[in-house]
């Protein structure tokens, strides 16, 4: 009876807070002040990609009185890590499409508009319908913007025709790209793969596309008639030296010519000619039967032209100015960033989102509670580098380029079927769990 009496004497609010604390502990959110859990603060999350939805789910689970708003018009959720498999014919397009409504929690207010302006001084965002949304805390997770226009003559509508392909734009374009790659793999010809000099989402994707296209060429009979080139606008193909050497050597074994510090600047779609600019300023034209375009990428214009971006003289100019360890904005402590939009040294991958979401949530709750953010992100990112259909290398590393394998028994230096199974069978279910705020 005594315990029953004690139970009923608990106020509902305390009970909820207690329950939330237990959930928070179970979720790995340590030492969260009850003040944060009981807060009636307004939190706005900009972006309904992997980071935005995952953060919304985690916050909604522990914050019962907080008004959480997601601002993004997108209703279809893209499983971006699967696009390499769509663009190489391994998956149908439908495998990478889902509905955001399946993952956004009910208690979260979903504003189906796009943010066009951030006003961090007034703590509000403006949407493309003219609506102003006030916030106490802001999470920017608005992803990247593909700058195809930087390549003169490129027409997005032309993908899939005239040998033009790109894994990045969308699942539709990835599927169209498979049409172009399939034709090339049957007939051979001049194939060109590119890499821009800007930071890009999933830096391994262009490399995977080349590896898998080579495999398709061998499967479909076009390999002997193929002349392959890979042009990177940077000084290498991959950021980690050992893997860069491995990839370079493997490409050369397959007869692929590699040009470094060579940037795709223009395309003549009708004539199937691509123009490249070298580091010394020289330009040259090259005809192609397949051109795989990786667009330069940048933060969305709403971030780029706001006070939230790194300034022009910064190495990460235009990207969201967050501290690389806490992911808190360097100027506005009530603002956090997560995902591809962050101006941090490495990692624009779903794996980075997976590991940084708990950091953002923990630090945000600490700030709400009036404490200093203490959780530190090590820059984890991961690249399941598909070297052929059926084999991959699971490369996981941090800001410093140090390998940080999740499973010690998986050797990142070895190609394995195990890594392929993880990529092809297990990563998507894991990703969906991440969206729900688990993992």
């Amino acid at each position: 009876m005594t315990s029953m009496y004690k139970m009923t004497s608990l106020s509902r609010r305390k009970f909820l807070v207690g329950g939330a604390t237990a959930l928070a502990t179970a979720s790995g959110l340590h030492a969260i002040n009850a003040q944060a859990l009981d807060s009636s603060a307004r939190i706005v999350i900009v972006g309904s990609g992997a980071a935005g939805i995952s953060i919304a789910n985690r916050l909604a689970r522990v914050l019962k009185n907080t008004k959480i708003t997601i601002v993004d018009r997108k209703e279809t959720h893209y499983y971006w890590p699967g696009l390499t498999l769509v663009a190489t014919g391994a998956w149908p397009k439908s495998d990478v499409l889902d509905r955001n409504s399946r993952f956004i929690p009910e208690q979260v207010d979903w504003v189906k508009e796009m943010v066009i302006n951030f006003d961090p001084e007034s703590k509000r965002v403006e949407t493309d319908t003219g609506r102003h949304i006030q916030y106490d805390y802001l999470v920017v997770a608005s992803g990247v913007e593909y700058n195809y226009r930087a390549i003169e003559g490129l027409d997005i509508e032309a993908f899939g025709q005239n040998g033009l392909a790109s894994v990045y734009h969308s699942p539709d374009v990835a599927a169209l790209s498979w049409d172009a790659i399939k034709k090339f793999s049957e007939q051979g010809g001049d194939g060109i793969f590119t890499l821009p000099k800007t930071p890009i989402r999933c830096a391994g994707a262009p490399l995977k596309m080349a590896f898998l296209a080579i495999d398709r060429l061998k499967q479909n009979g076009g390999f002997d008639q193929a002349n392959l080139n890979f042009y990177s606008a940077t000084q290498n193909l991959f950021g980690l030296p050992w893997f860069n050497d491995f990839i370079t050597q493997r490409y050369k074994q397959e007869g692929m010519q590699i040009g470094l510090e060579t940037e795709l600047t223009a395309v003549d779609i009708g004539a199937r000619k691509a123009t490249f600019k070298k580091a010394d300023g020289q330009t040259f034209n090259q005809s192609y039967d397949l051109l795989h375009v990786v667009p330069p990428m940048r933060a969305p214009s709403s971030v780029r032209y706001s006070d939230l971006a790194w300034p022009e003289d910064s190495a990460m100019a235009g990207w969201l100015a967050v501290d690389k360890d806490t992911l808190q904005h360097v100027k506005y402590p009530n603002v956090f960033g997560c995902g591809d939009v962050n101006g941090t040294p490495r990692g624009k991958t779903a794996a980075t989102v997976k590991m940084s979401v708990p950091i953002v949530v923990e630090n945000l709750l600490a700030v709400i509670a009036g404490k200093e953010p203490k959780a530190r992100f090590n820059g984890y990112t991961s690249c399941p580098l598909l070297t052929k259909f059926g084999a991959a290398m699971l490369i996981e590393f941090d800001y410093n380029g140090q390998l940080v394998p999740t499973y010690p028994f998986i050797d990142p230096y070895k190609e394995s079927w195990l890594a392929w199974v993880m990529k092809e069978q297990l990563l998507k279910p894991t990703y969906l769990q991440m969206l729900k705020g688990h993992v």
């Binding site: 059926g390 079927w417 069978q425 279910p429 969906l432 769990q433």
Partner: protein, 120 residues
């Protein structure tokens, strides 16, 4: 601990993604076992002959799976070069073949109950 958490949610997510097949497997297997259990055969549910035949079937399923799982995942047995690949393949083949007993055992048991009596 993070790898345990990841593994748990990876497998949970995989199970959720294949809920229909798993449901079919569980409901079908449970129904077959119920039928086999409630049929009035002369012998008990667990009989040496049925166990022996089920184990032979299990071995056959194991060999078949060991040879075909890489192909079913879009790969090939020839691409397995890392020791962890062989361990994973062995565990998957063992796991699925043991799971197949849930259907094969009651089916064999039902066969022995309903098989036509051979003329002497």
């Amino acid at each position: 601990m993070s790898e345990l958490n990841l593994t748990f949610f990876m497998l949970l997510g995989y199970a959720q993604a294949h809920w229909f097949v798993i449901s079919l497997y569980v409901i079908g297997g449970a129904s077959l076992n119920y039928l086999a259990w409630t049929q009035k055969g002369k012998a008990k549910f667990f009989q040496p002959l049925v166990i022996e035949q089920a184990l032979i079937g299990l071995a056959g399923v194991f060999v078949l799976l060991f040879l075909t799982i890489p192909w079913m995942t879009g790969s090939s047995l020839f691409l397995l070069g890392y020791w962890a690949d062989w361990v994973l393949l062995f565990l998957m083949a063992v796991g699925y073949s043991v799971a197949s007993l849930f259907w094969s055992y009651p089916l064999i048991r039902l066969y022995h109950i309903f098989k036509p009596v051979e003329p002497k």
